[in-house]
Symmetry: C2
DNA sequence: CGTGATAACGGTACCGGTATCGATAACATG
DNA sequence: CATGTTATCGATACCGGTACCGTTATCACG
């Protein structure tokens, strides 16, 4: 059973291909009676339309390519969700690709995405290698880099400063009176943004002549289970620790569960801090500090940037809205006054 | 800066369009020297290739359309992740669409997906309305329905029986000596699979002349926060409950946190049971029972089904592998011998 | 009644690739 | 030297739509 074409619909309706095309797209110059016949023919053949042909012919796909590093962590799906809702009703459609935190794979995925001639492309972070950047630039479409601000954007940029986030958390934890601070993280070679948070955090410590009293690192991807395991290990070795900074909330939540099983009271004995502000963090039986990154909002902002850019492109007036949208993640779960 | 075309690459290399095409695709009958010249030309123009034209011309897109109801819950991203890894290296590419648990929106998304002429399509569940089914059938491509088995598949089917899962959990909880069982759920009108689990669970209870001693339902989507809130409410009203079945693990985890804050010991005083087997459930400070659904494996199985179907399609031999792949989720977090 | 405007529709040329068949040249072979 | 073979490349016809311009018929109007 082959898919039926516009030609077949037209034949069944007794009109030309061109008239059928106009009728189905709701053009004004086609008789009402003819339009009905064409629509019925399309219905009877359950005609679907070929967007390959449409896009090739009309020279616009209305596709937005999106490349994220992972789908396992909840944070990227949430950004994607924000993008799709932001794009809803605009006639644009998002297509997703996963790079697995791999630069080479990312370049191939981007090349693949670009071959579909998208109207815009959204990529994660600002740390693409040179050839990837070159490819993105020569695509001749709006490029939006999301999630991160620390670096030089190609075109548009939506996100937050992970350096600032790490710095602010360090300042807040020191202000809360914590001195023996440890670090637990994973896959820092892959997750560059977590690395930026950690580095900025350490700079604050160094300014106070402090440093992490202990570090637990792991190659595996972050997870609650991993955070729990590493934390249990660390606490057994260094019980004097009064605060742990994690690479993200998954790890921190695992850390909390490790503390609960070890009978350590959070946050009075030990303060745990992560990053992301997952929904989870609002419901945990003990508070963990976190920087609430507005993931869905960032996705929507990227989407709006694109729809705006398309509108400006039509008018070809140039000089559109801002090229950079900055989000500032508030810190939650940290009450002043702890000792 | 317009995207460069194959024609331009060919001109720069001093050959015809056809030869350039062959050179870039690694055809055997093109001189080594010519191939080099073409590749350099492509490199210099950072030529990307137009898959719209390619697919239109060659009549195959190697695209796999995937429609899931949501991206907020972790379970669907995990399935998607399984699909992409299962498709990796096969030359196929997955495209995702989100239906927001809405039948009308789902139909539009599917129509949209089909207009891209995918080589196969994966949809969630077996409960599509008639016109959607008709559209899927007349697409003339393999249709894979995933996640659920309870119903009549269109073509291929990968998943687990949610009826069985609900039944098995009920049996297991009764075997563990629980009698005063309550239910906490959300969005059952949208999440049909959760509804199937609940119905089957209730049938087991009814067979023992039992029924839920209390029910807390909510229209909102499932979340840890919602599970916590509903559970706290329920426990305050009916402290005699000794077991709660949840619509899924998110809700159950929230329930656990509510119990911990209320000073109720899990699982000795009250047993909590969910569904999905999220990674989270392995690390919680107290065990919750759950049915471990192999989400990533289901995605990979669906992908393999497709790649197999494509191979058979080439040979046109017909009568390929199985049309249905059944998964049986094991129950974890429930130790025999509790009283 | 000739003219022009308008409504409704068709014809043709693309869009950027690939399939298919042919053409050409170089070379080996009897 | 005529012929066949092989390697390499080009010309042409699509794929299924849309853009653009042209055509035809009808009707109002001076």
């Amino acid at each position: 059973m082959r898919r039926s074409t516009l030609e077949e619909v037209a034949a069944l309706a007794g009109v030309s291909k061109m008239t059928a095309s106009r009728a189905l797209r709701g053009s004004s110059d086609v008789a009402e009676e003819t339009r009905r016949r064409v629509q019925q023919a399309a219905e009877r053949l359950s005609y679907v339309g070929n967007r390959l042909a449409l896009s090739l012919s009309s020279q616009r796909t209305n596709l937005v390519a999106v490349v994220v590093p992972s789908m396992s962590n909840t944070v990227f799906p949430e950004v994607l969700s924000g993008i799709t809702t932001g794009l809803a009703g605009t006639g644009m459609q998002a297509v997703f690709g996963i790079s697995d935190y791999d630069e080479v794979k990312e370049r191939e995925i981007i090349r693949d995405m670009l071959s579909w001639q998208p109207s815009a492309i959204i990529v994660t972070g600002l740390d693409q290698p040179h050839d990837t950047v070159r490819m993105l630039k020569s695509a001749g479409i709006p490029v939006i880099q999301v999630m991160d601000l620390d670096g030089t954007p190609i075109d548009f940029n939506v996100g937050l400063s992970h350096g600032d986030a790490g710095r602010d958390m360090a300042v807040a934890l020191l202000a809360a009176g914590r001195k023996k601070i440890a670090y637990v993280g994973s896959a820092l070679d892959k997750d560059l943004r977590a690395g930026k948070r950690k580095a900025a955090f350490q700079r604050v410590l160094a300014a106070q002549s402090l440093s992490f009293v202990s570090e637990q690192l792991d190659d595996g991807f972050s997870s609650i289970a991993l955070g729990k395991r590493l934390t249990a290990h660390m606490l057994a070795a260094k019980p004097e620790i009064d605060c742990i900074y994690y690479s993200n909330d998954d790890m921190a939540a695992g850390g909390l569960f490790a503390c609960m099983e070890a009978g350590i009271i959070v946050p009075s004995q030990i303060v745990l801090a992560g990053f992301n502000g997952l929904d989870l963090t609002d419901s945990l039986p003990a508070p963990i500090a976190t920087s609430k990154s507005p993931r869905r909002a960032m996705g929507e902002a990227a989407a709006r940037l694109i729809t705006d850019a398309m509108k400006d492109g039509e008018k070809s007036s140039g000089e559109a809205g801002p090229k950079t949208i900055v989000f500032k993640p508030p810190i939650t779960g940290l009450k002043q006054g702890w000792t």
